[in-house]
C-alpha cells in the first residue's frame, strides 16, 4: 500500500483563534512493502505526520492517499473504519493503549471490532503474541502486571492482530533494553518480508541505518529531506547540526577522531565499518 501526502497542511484547532499550524506543505511518498523511518527533533511534527496515515488526524488542507483511500478535511468519520482496518498503529507510550483484563483479551480487541468471531480473533491474537515474543504463560495475566518491555510487546501484538497492511510505530524502541531493541528491529524486518509497509519514528540513527529503506527528515513541520539513509548520513556535518540531528554512533565517533587529527577515508555508519576502517587506516607501530 503506497502512502502519498500531497501539499498537506495541518493545524490544531483549525478555524479557531487558537489555531496552531504544525505541518506545512508536506508532500512525500512511502512505498509499498518498504520500511520508512521518520526522524527529526522533538516538536518537528513527526507524530502529527504519522497520525494522518490512519486518519486519527485529517489534513486541514491537502490530501493523503493510502492505497485507494483518499483522506482530506472532508472525509467522514464512518468512512475511516476501512482505513483503520488497513493501518495498525503503535503509539509512543504503547503501555497507555492497553486496557483489558487479560493480555489475550487486549490483543483480541481489534479483530473482534473488525468483525472476526471470538474463535478467529483468539487465533489471530495468539499468532500475533507469538510473533512479538510474548510467552504463553503471560496470556492470561493482566497487562498491567507486566514489565515495561513486555507491555510494549503486547501493544505491538494488538496492532498486528488484525493483520493490517501498513504498520505505523511512533518511537517503538524507546525504553526497550538492548535485547528488546534488537528483537524489535528483527520484527520490523520480518514484517517487511511479509510484504507489509512499515513506517516508524525514531531518535536512534543506528536503528535507521540498520533497517530503513528510506528516511524522511522533519524540521519545523516541513519535510527537509526524503532520501536513502546512506545518502542522508553522508551529508555534510553542518547540515546535521542545523537540523539538530545525530549521526549514527560510528559516524559520531569518526567525527571526533577527525577533531583529534585522524581523518578516515570515508564516514563509517556502523560499528563494523568503523572498526574495519581503523584496522586498515591507522598505522600500528
Amino acid at each position: 500500500m503506497a502512502i502519498k501526502f500531497e501539499q498537506v497542511n495541518f493545524s490544531y484547532g483549525a478555524g479557531t483563534t487558537l489555531a496552531q499550524s504544525v505541518l506545512h506543505h508536506v508532500s512525500l511518498e512511502m512505498k509499498t512493502g518498504a520500511i520508512t523511518a521518520i526522524i527529526g527533533q522533538t516538536g518537528s511534527g513527526k507524530s502529527t505526520l504519522v497520525q494522518h496515515i490512519n486518519g486519527l488526524l485529517k489534513p486541514t488542507s491537502g490530501k493523503v492517499t493510502i492505497d485507494d483511500f483518499e483522506l482530506t478535511s472532508k472525509t467522514k468519520e464512518k468512512e475511516l473504519v476501512t482505513l483503520r482496518q488497513k493501518v495498525g498503529m503503535v503509539f509512543q507510550f504503547p503501555e497507555n493503549q492497553l486496557f483489558a483484563n487479560t493480555v489475550i483479551e487486549d490483543v483480541m480487541y481489534a479483530p473482534l471490532n473488525f468483525g472476526s468471531n471470538k474463535e478467529a480473533a483468539r487465533s489471530l491474537a495468539e499468532k500475533a503474541l507469538t510473533r512479538v515474543g510474548v510467552a504463553e504463560s503471560l496470556w492470561m495475566k493482566s497487562p498491567f502486571d507486566l514489565s515495561g518491555g513486555q507491555m510494549r510487546r503486547v501493544a505491538m501484538a494488538g496492532a498486528l492482530a488484525s493483520d493490517p497492511e501498513v504498520i505505523v510505530m511512533d518511537e517503538p524502541a524507546a525504553g526497550l533494553d538492548p535485547k528488546g531493541q534488537k528483537e524489535l528491529l528483527n520484527l520490523v524486518l520480518e514484517l517487511k518480508k511479509l510484504g507489509k509497509t512499515v513506517v516508524f519514528i525514531s531518535h536512534q540513527m543506528d536503528h535507521v541505518i540498520h533497517v530503513a529503506d528510506k528516511v524522511i527528515v522533519m524540521h519545523d513541520g516541513e519535510v527537509s529531506a526524503e532520501t536513502t539513509p546512506q545518502e542522508l548520513f553522508n551529508r555534510d556535518i553542518n547540515w546535521f547540526k542545523e537540523m539538530r540531528l545525530d549521526l549514527p554512533k560510528a559516524g559520531q565517533f569518526s567525527e571526533k577522531l577527525e577533531k583529534a587529527g585522524i581523518k578516515l577515508s570515508r564516514r563509517p555508519l556502523t560499528v563494523d565499518e568503523l572498526a574495519d576502517l581503523i584496522n586498515k587506516e591507522i598505522d600500528h607501530e
Binding site: S147, G149, G180, K256
Partner: protein
C-alpha cells in the same frame, strides 16, 4: 565507611511460583554513584521499590544509613531518598515549574520564607532557573526530568535513585540529564549517594560502580572497566557494552583495558603518531 544502603539475605516472590530475589545481598557506600543495570524485567526497578518500602520483602533486611526498614521506620527512610521515575509526564503536579518543586516542600511544611530560596537553589543546580514560571507541559522531556530532579533535590535527600530516567528522552534530553548528574556529583561529592537504574551501558559507564542483575541475581559487580571486560556475560544477560568497548572488540590492536570514548580517541591518536 557508612553504608548508605545495606541489603542482607533479601527474599522476594511475586507469587508462589515466581521467586525474584533469593538471598540477595548488596551494600552501597555513602557518596558512591552506582549504576544498577539489567534488561527489562530483570528486577532492578523492583529492588528500588523494595528499598523505598513501596513493596515489602518476604524476608531479609534492608538498612538505610544503619536504620532497618520496617513499618515504623518507612517514612523516615523515605525522607532520605529521592526518586525520579521513567515517564516525566506522570510526576508533575504543579501549574508552574516552581509550584512543582514547592509541592514536596509544602508536604514537609517548610516555612514559606525559606521555600522560595530552596526552590531557586534547586532549580539552579539543574540549570532550570530561567524556566521557573513556565508550565511543565511546555518543557521538553529532558527539561521535565531536570525539574523532577530539582523537586527531589529541594528536599535535600542523602540518596537519589533515578529509575530509567532517560529511557524516554531523545538524545539531546538524555545528554542534558547525564551532564546534570555529573555536575550534581561534583557539587555534592560524598554527601550524595546516587543510584542510576538503566540498561544503557554508555550511561552506566559514568558511575563509580556498575552492578548487573538478572532475574534477581547479582551477575557482576565492580568498577566500570572491570565489569566491561566481561563481554560474554554482559551479552548473555541481554545487555550491550558501551560503544567504545563494542568498537574495541572488533579492533585488531586493542588497548589493554577498558577506555571510555575520550580515552579511546586519545589512544588511537597516539597509535597514529
Amino acid at each position: 565507611m557508612t553504608k548508605a544502603i545495606k541489603i542482607n539475605n533479601l527474599n522476594y516472590n511475586y507469587n508462589e511460583d515466581h521467586t525474584l530475589f533469593e538471598d540477595f545481598n548488596l551494600s552501597i557506600e555513602e557518596g558512591q554513584w552506582v549504576a544498577l543495570v539489567g534488561h527489562n524485567g530483570s528486577g532492578k526497578s523492583t529492588l528500588a521499590k523494595l528499598i523505598l518500602g513501596l513493596m515489602v520483602a518476604n524476608s531479609g533486611k534492608i538498612c538505610v544509613f544503619d536504620e532497618q526498614l520496617t513499618t515504623d521506620t518507612v517514612y523516615h527512610v523515605r525522607e532520605q531518598i529521592g526518586m525520579v521515575f521513567q515517564n516525566p509526564d506522570n510526576q508533575f503536579v504543579g501549574a508552574t515549574v516552581a509550584d512543582d518543586v514547592a509541592f514536596g516542600l509544602e508536604n514537609k511544611q517548610i516555612p514559606n520564607k525559606e521555600m522560595a530560596k530552596t526552590i531557586d537553589e534547586a532549580l539552579a543546580v539543574v540549570g532550570m532557573q530561567d524556566f521557573k514560571n513556565r508550565e511543565p507541559h511546555t518543557l521538553s522531556g529532558g527539561q521535565k526530568q531536570r525539574v523532577a530532579l530539582a523537586s527531589v533535590l529541594a528536599l535535600k535527600p542523602k540518596i537519589i535513585i533515578l529509575d530509567e530516567a532517560t529511557a524516554m528522552l531523545d538524545p539531546d534530553g538524555r545528554d542534558t540529564v547525564m551532564r546534570t548528574l555529573k555536575l550534581l556529583k561534583a557539587q555534592f561529592g560524598s554527601e550524595l549517594t546516587l543510584i542510576t537504574i538503566t540498561h544503557d551501558m554508555d550511561e552506566a559507564a559514568l558511575a563509580d560502580r556498575v552492578v548487573v542483575i538478572n532475574d534477581g541475581q547479582l551477575i557482576l559487580d565492580g568498577e566500570p572497566e572491570d565489569v566491561f571486560k566481561q563481554t560474554n556475560l554482559i551479552h548473555e544477560n541481554g545487555l550491550e557494552l558501551p560503544f567504545s568497548a563494542e568498537l574495541v572488540a572488533s579492533l585488531q590492536h586493542k588497548p589493554k583495558h577498558y577506555l571510555n570514548e575520550r580515552e579511546l580517541i586519545q589512544w588511537l591518536s597516539n597509535l597514529n603518531k
